[in-house]
């Protein structure tokens, strides 16, 4: 049978085979709306493709590595990237290839095309989430067309779809994707209309931009915005933006250009046109029996509907974080702004704050002043924690944008190859480890010093070694207290000296891998994949991704310094309270006690959990599966770290098993032979630092710290993501 459906021929199939978008376009066309000519690649083609290439089972394998409910968003993103990469590298069987190319050529000639998703569940009234699936605009040529179809197919398994899989009825065993192919309509202006304002059900919203609506949809171009009263159909408010940019067709895809000439001053729509757009959308609303979100474009005199779907009212609950995860997908432009803000304002301000706090001589101030100081430091800390979530985390996810661009351009066999282009950047934690190594080196060559340190007879403050220790503590804080939430820091330089001694006991700890020539070749291959005019952009994106990668590690170090200053003040308070003294003094210490009692949830961190170690079990784990996050194979004795202070027991050659590697913990990494982490993801701190040191790493192992115990002999296979207990 014909598997590419020409809608103008009037044929119709059920939504399961043509998808929601195609069905709604078909109904619009039947009812007299202007829609672009449309070809539908029905779901049978998708099925044929995934069966013929073996992709169906590979997708299922990818999605069944662990229970869905145990997957973090980052793991879902990773799975989605792998699946996308499978689609991009699989070749379409010849018969299908010809069918798609010949039918499209016959129907549209060599005109530029738009390729859109049309998933069966996508536009159902109960499940309309914008931006779930891919749309590829302005496609010319055979290979780009097939690529676009593959990308749209792959987007059935985008991280957004996987997050909303229940609402979408997404079923890894059965779901399939139809694809809509249309000629590109480059209207003079475009936009969206919501027949019901998601923010106020009595209103409707019309948004419009000059040129294509791509920039409007992804947030790069600010639209003119009209709010209308649904009942009286009058314009209630109009907001005029600063019109600066316009989306225009590039050689392939869409480019942003500066808006020039009259159009800077001119609204894209006249008031009567605003009404025409609204009337058209109202007609769609009555056709489909509910509020609609319509994408439109104005081609000469004709108002054309590009797509139409039901408006959903967001029913996000407080515990539903999915919207937030998806907000981490930022555009290049947005990331550039974020980076500037972080590098020029936030980080210097954080350093400044840590410096100021460090200058206060805590042991000299009064109890009252100390109480005030603790409160102040808590506020400072809270502020930066908030900035961390709202600015740093979204920026750190910029590496994901690069990953997708890299994979699209280079088509590597390993979908995480792109990380190699980002690593070997100067990370704060590597700098810290280099200083540790320098101190260890001093101890190695000075047996006298080593002996004194081992006996805890520390040299005087002006000894060069002690100066380095002081300098280190000032710069990085006390490793043992910045490693977690607890205020139980080791006293003074003792803990740090213990770590230096442990480093010194080894000939030389692992060094981070130097940037290889291999990565230089990869960078060239990446840049060569772009045409002359996109090359600069590709270079800038790589630069941005490197900054993002660095920040993923560094932000925690900066935050760690602030936390360390807070911990230091709290520790001083605890010390004074422990001293107690006469009852009259207790009265004096009252404020200090109050302040310490305010501390939210002290001590309920990692240490609060009951240890399962003592209980006898009739089962044990023999082999655990996670994600292969750092290639390598290593065997060693497990060091399970549940509390930050346990890091200090770490010995060379042990396999570090933790819930989550905090960058402040990475000083023990060079001593480890491998890393196993409960938290999952390819781009989390543990995985990043393991790759920097060339260590085997497996992440996303459920209950790792309970199933593995300190002293167990474990083998870590970082290629397959397997941890075997002997």
């Amino acid at each position: 049978m014909k598997r590419l459906l020409d809608m103008t021929s009037g044929a119709s199939l059920p939504v399961e085979r043509i998808g929601g978008k195609a069905l709604s376009l078909f109904r619009l066309q039947q009812n007299g709306f202007t829609v672009p000519e449309t070809l539908v690649v029905i779901t049978d083609v998708y099925d044929h493709f995934v069966d013929a290439t073996g992709l169906r089972e590979r997708i299922l394998l990818e999605l069944h590595r662990k229970d869905f409910d145990q997957m973090r968003w980052e793991e879902i993103w990773d799975a989605s990237l792998r699946i996308r990469s499978l689609f991009l590298s699989a070749s379409i069987p010849e018969t299908l290839r010809r069918e798609i190319l010949d039918t499209t050529l016959e129907r549209f000639g060599s005109t530029a095309l738009v390729v859109r998703s049309s998933a069966p569940g996508e536009d159902a009234a109960s499940a309309s989430f914008a931006g779930l699936h891919e749309t590829v605009v302005n496609v010319s040529g055979e290979e780009p067309l097939l690529d676009a179809v593959r990308k749209v197919w792959a987007s059935l398994w985008s991280d957004a779809s996987l997050l909303y899989r229940q609402e979408l009825g997404l079923d890894p065993e059965r779901s399939a994707m139809a694809v809509v192919i249309q000629p590109m309509t480059a209207g003079r202006c475009s936009g969206v209309v919501f027949t019901r304002n998601p923010a106020d059900s009595r209103e409707a919203v019309v948004e419009a931009v000059h040129g294509l609506n791509q920039g409007l949809v992804d947030g790069a171009v600010e639209p003119d915005r009209w709010i209308l009263d649904r009942r009286s159909k009058t314009i209630v408010t109009y907001r005029e933006p600063k019109r600066e940019r316009i989306s225009i067709p590039g050689p392939q895809g869409v480019s942003l250009a500066d808006l020039s000439g009259d159009r800077v001053e001119q609204a894209p729509l006249e008031p009567n046109e605003v009404h025409a757009v609204f009337d058209m959308a109202l007609a769609a609303e009555s056709l489909f029996g509910g509020p609609q979100d319509v994408e439109w474009t104005w081609v000469e005199d004709r108002l054309t509907v590009l797509q139409c779907r039901p408006v959903t009212t967001a029913t996000a609950t407080a515990t539903d974080q999915r919207g937030w995860y998806l907000s981490l997908h930022r555009s290049y432009e947005n990331l550039v702004v974020l980076r500037k803000e972080i590098e020029e304002n936030h980080i210097p301000a954080m350093e400044q704050a840590a410096r100021e706090m460090g200058a206060v001589a805590l042991n000299e101030i009064s109890d009252d002043a100390l109480a005030d100081e603790i409160r102040r430091r808590r506020d400072v800390n809270d502020h930066w924690v908030q900035v961390y979530w709202s600015e740093f985390i979204p920026f750190a996810h910029g590496i994901r944008l690069f990953g997708q661009v890299y994979n699209d351009a280079v088509r590597p066999e390993d979908p995480f190859e792109f990380v190699e282009l980002l690593s070997h950047a100067p990370l704060q934690s590597l700098d810290r480890n280099r200083r540790l190594e320098a101190m260890a080196e001093r101890v190695r060559f000075d047996p006298n010093l080593r002996e004194r340190l081992e006996q805890r007879k520390f040299p005087s403050e002006d000894h060069p070694f002690m100066q380095e220790i002081t300098e280190f503590l000032k710069r990085f804080g006390d490793l043992s207290c910045s490693a977690g939430e607890t205020v139980q820091c080791a006293q003074g330089p003792g803990a740090l000296i213990h770590i230096v001694l442990e480093w010194a006991a080894q000939p030389e700890v692992s060094r981070p891998l130097a940037g290889s020539r291999n990565s230089q070749a990869r960078i060239r291959r990446y840049l060569d994949a772009f045409g002359e005019e996109r090359r600069q952009w590709a270079e800038r994106l790589l630069e941005l991704a490197r900054a993002s990668y660095r920040l993923r590690d560094d932000d925690n170090i900066f935050l760690g310094r602030i936390e360390a200053r807070l911990a230091e003040a709290e520790q001083e308070a605890l010390r004074r309270l422990a001293e107690g003294g006469a009852s009259s003094e207790e009265e004096v210490r009252r404020r200090l006690k109050e302040v310490m009692d305010e501390k939210p949830d002290a001590g309920t961190g990692a240490g609060g959990r009951q240890e399962a170690g003592a209980e006898r079990r009739s089962y044990r784990a023999r082999q655990l599966v996670g994600q292969p996050a750092g290639p390598g194979l290593a065997r060693g004795s497990a060091r399970v770290v549940k509390r930050p202070e346990e890091l200090l027991d770490m010995q060379r050659g042990e396999v570090l098993v933790v819930d989550a590697v905090d960058p402040n913990m990475t000083f023990v990494v060079p001593m480890a032979s491998a890393i196993v982490e409960r938290r999952g993801g390819m781009l989390i701190h543990g995985a990043i630092i393991a790759r920097e040191y060339g260590l085997a790493c497996v992440t996303g192992v459920p209950d790792a710290t309970d199933l593995i115990r300190t002293g167990d002999e474990v083998t870590v296979d970082g290629y397959l993501g397997i941890v075997t207990l002997q």
């Binding site: 290439t53 073996g54 089972e57 590979r58 299922l60 394998l61 023999r622 082999q623 292969p628 290639p631 194979l633 083998t715 296979d717 290629y719 397959l720 397997i722 075997t724």
Partner: protein
Amino acid sequence: MADPSEDIRSRIAALFETQRLAVLATQGPGGPHASLVAFWGAPDLQRILFATPRTTRKFANLTERPQVCLLIDSSRNVPADFHEAMAVTASGDARVVADADRPDSDVDYLRRHPYLKDFLRSPTTALVEIAVERYSLVRHFQTVMELLPKE
């Protein structure tokens, strides 16, 4: 009547075509050890391939004691299995496929299990070949026929 040896051969070859998983038995220091593996059987019945991570118990066992056997069966977990199902046990020596032979063997194995490509390509995965010395084919609940594929 058809050549009984040809009949047995074609039944085993048919099992190779229809089944994907089989039970591998290895010998360990503490006793026998059984594992489910994804296999490919050569049409001439001379050899069977399967892949395993090198960190597994089955791999340690077969490296120490190469004598293994593999049970392939067509049961569907229904009562009719008792009269319909067939099972064949292949025994022989297992060895890791040499690097030089990998390209050809990989093609054979991946044709049967294309979704295991990443698994097979991992440097920590071994592709193992059993040089089959004897097949025991069980049909009709209790009929057992033996076949020496090399003769």
